[in-house]
């Protein structure tokens, strides 16, 4: 307990940055992922191909590699310089977006075929079929797996610690400079993660119950 209280400043900064990474990456991943997911079910062939290529390629890339590229490669390209936290958000968003896209696509596929067929029989065009009929139903089926994706994202934020971002995974390095025992610090970090993940899982279960489908 002493370790936690004496270094509370480090823990607060660390987990605050973890939450910043988490929230911003979640928002960007949700936007990009929905677009890519929509591309993968669209009537336009090249769009489907681009979406599939993006998902398959990035899904099979280690997140560490993406962060590695953004942290070490990007600054060499002479582009507008942005700090490590923002670079980590870019890498996390690009990576998580593929999982969001797959979740969205799987959700669309859970909607019974008859729904889309009925919508088309009524004369609704593709955009209205999607926005009025399919997506509202897909949304409910998507909530639980989407929460799993975000729980994964929360845990993945720790990787940014390896690339000069002062977040939860980096607390050990700073605490060690003060001579704190690394094991105790790390166990506290692990415990806080267990609690955070558990809270998200509770939220997941609550939403699942609230919007559960009886089909």
């Amino acid at each position: 307990m002493d370790v936690l209280i004496n270094n509370s400043d480090l823990f607060v900064i660390g987990f605050r940055n973890t939450l910043v990474l988490f929230v911003f990456s979640a928002i960007f991943a949700l936007i990009l992922g929905t677009i890519v997911g929509a591309m993968r079910v669209s009537p336009v062939g090249p769009m489907r191909m681009v979406g599939t290529a993006y998902v398959n390629l990035v899904r099979n890339t280690p997140l560490t590699l993406l962060m590695f590229f953004f942290a070490f490669g990007y600054p060499k390209l002479g582009l507008p310089s942005i700090d490590y936290l923002q670079l980590a958000i870019v890498a996390l968003s690009l990576y998580t977006a593929t999982y969001v896209a797959e979740t969205v696509r799987a959700g669309v596929n859970t909607v019974p075929v008859g729904q889309a067929e009925a919508a088309r029989a009524l004369g609704l065009p593709f955009t209205k079929t999607m926005s009025l009929v399919v997506l509202p139903q897909a949304f409910r089926a998507v909530i639980p797996p989407m929460m799993s994706v975000f729980i994964a994202l929360l845990k993945n934020t720790t990787i940014a610690a390896g690339f000069s971002v002062q977040e939860a995974g980096a607390i050990r390095a700073y605490a060690s400079e003060r001579g704190e025992p690394a094991l105790v610090v790390l166990l506290w970090v692990a415990l806080i993660f267990v609690i955070l993940v558990w809270l998200l899982a509770l939220l997941q279960r609550y939403l699942e119950k609230k919007w559960s489908l009886t089909r």
């Binding site: 079910v41 009537p43 336009v44 090249p46 769009m47 681009v50 398959n56 099979n60 890339t61 280690p62 997140l63 560490t64 590699l65 590695f68 590229f69 070490f72 490669g73 060499k76 390209l77 002479g78 582009l79 990576y95 999982y99 797959e102 799987a106 596929n109 075929v113 889309a116 067929e117 088309r120 399919v134 639980p144 797996p145 929460m147 799993s148 994706v149 729980i151 994202l153 993945n156 720790t158 990787i159 610690a161 390896g162 995974g169 050990r172 690394a182 094991l183 105790v184 610090v185 790390l186 166990l187 692990a190 993660f193 267990v194 993940v197 558990w198 998200l200 899982a201 997941q204 279960r205």
Partner: protein, 300 residues
């Protein structure tokens, strides 16, 4: 599946789709071209930056680094499968003294980020006198996490089987262990094989985390080469080379998972598609909704 969402396009829709298709292609070419142009402008394609990869010593070291990555993956994969089966069966046990600890272990290790587990092994344990090589820190971290995820996979697999399998086996007089090992587990493994393989892709991807705990794998060597001033600090070429090796390895393993899924499906087996594994390279979720099983009771 998705073709249900829209009508077969008529002449106007076809023309519009063609225009949209061309725009998509142009945008993608513009993005890729822009990236390549930036690389070129920053002189990343200069032969001097790539010369280092022609040295036999560098090539041999790259192979060694790839070997380190693969051996960590192999050991961690086998370990995860063993731990996964044991924990999964433990969770299905009828004895609470076995079931509850397994439940706690699975839930806790699925909730801790793999990197933190590796750090506990590499930086944490030496403070109580247990020192280990980075290799073992990486492997143990991966085994604890992925073993817990696989435990849930095996459990979900067993529970997805038709009830009759269990009942028939018991009616034949098999003991509970025999029912599990001879009847249920083989079927569960087959149904879950695509998910298991896609989890092994996660293991392979996460070996890259070893870079952060100074394990000498591909990215570690990319950093080493990239910061060697004598060769012009070729960090981007090194990332491209090592990254390609990683991506090719992962794509190959994913391809195997896909192939197995298709073969099993063609054989008319009940199979859970790899896509239902939402373990986003580190998640799994503390929930329990990690694996979405399709409605069963069809085959059996």
């Amino acid at each position: 599946m998705s073709s249900v969402l829209y009508d077969a396009p008529g002449p106007r829709a076809r023309a519009r789709n063609r225009v949209l298709g061309i725009i998509t292609v142009l945008v993608v070419i513009a993005i890729i071209g822009g990236i390549l142009y930036k690389f070129w402008e920053a002189n990343q394609f200069a032969p001097s930056k790539w010369r280092v990869f022609t040295f036999p010593l560098v090539q041999r070291t790259i192979l060694e680094a790839a070997g380190a990555t693969l051996s960590a993956f192999a050991v961690a994969a086998v370990g995860s499968l063993v731990v996964g089966v044991l924990l999964g069966l433990g969770r299905l046990s009828q004895h609470a003294w076995l079931r509850l600890p397994c439940l706690v272990i699975v839930e806790v290790f699925r909730a801790i980020p793999v990197l933190i587990l590796m750090m506990i092994m590499y930086y944490g344990l030496p403070t109580i006198g247990i020192k280990m090589e980075p290799f073992f820190a990486v492997v143990i971290g991966l085994v604890l996490y992925n073993g817990s995820v696989l435990a849930e996979v095996f459990r979900a697999g067993v529970q997805s089987l038709p009830k009759g399998q269990n009942e028939a086996a018991q009616a034949l007089g098999l003991r509970r262990t025999q029912v599990l090992w001879i009847i249920l587990l083989p079927q569960a493994t087959r149904a879950m094989l695509p998910v298991i393989l896609s989890q092994l892709v996660v293991v392979l991807k996460d070996t890259a985390l070893g870079f952060i705990v100074t394990f000498h794998e591909l990215l570690y060597y990319a950093k080493f080469l990239g910061s060697s001033f004598t060769y012009g600090s070729p960090i981007i070429p090194a990332t491209i080379v090592m990254g390609s090796i990683y991506i090719v390895l992962c794509l190959a393993l994913s391809g195997v998972a896909k192939l197995v899924e298709l073969r099993l499906k063609r054989g008319g087996r009940r199979v859970v598609p790899a896509a239902s594994n939402v373990d986003a390279g580190g998640p799994g979720g503390g929930g329990g909704a990690a694996i979405v099983l399709p409605s069963t009771q069809k085959g059996g």
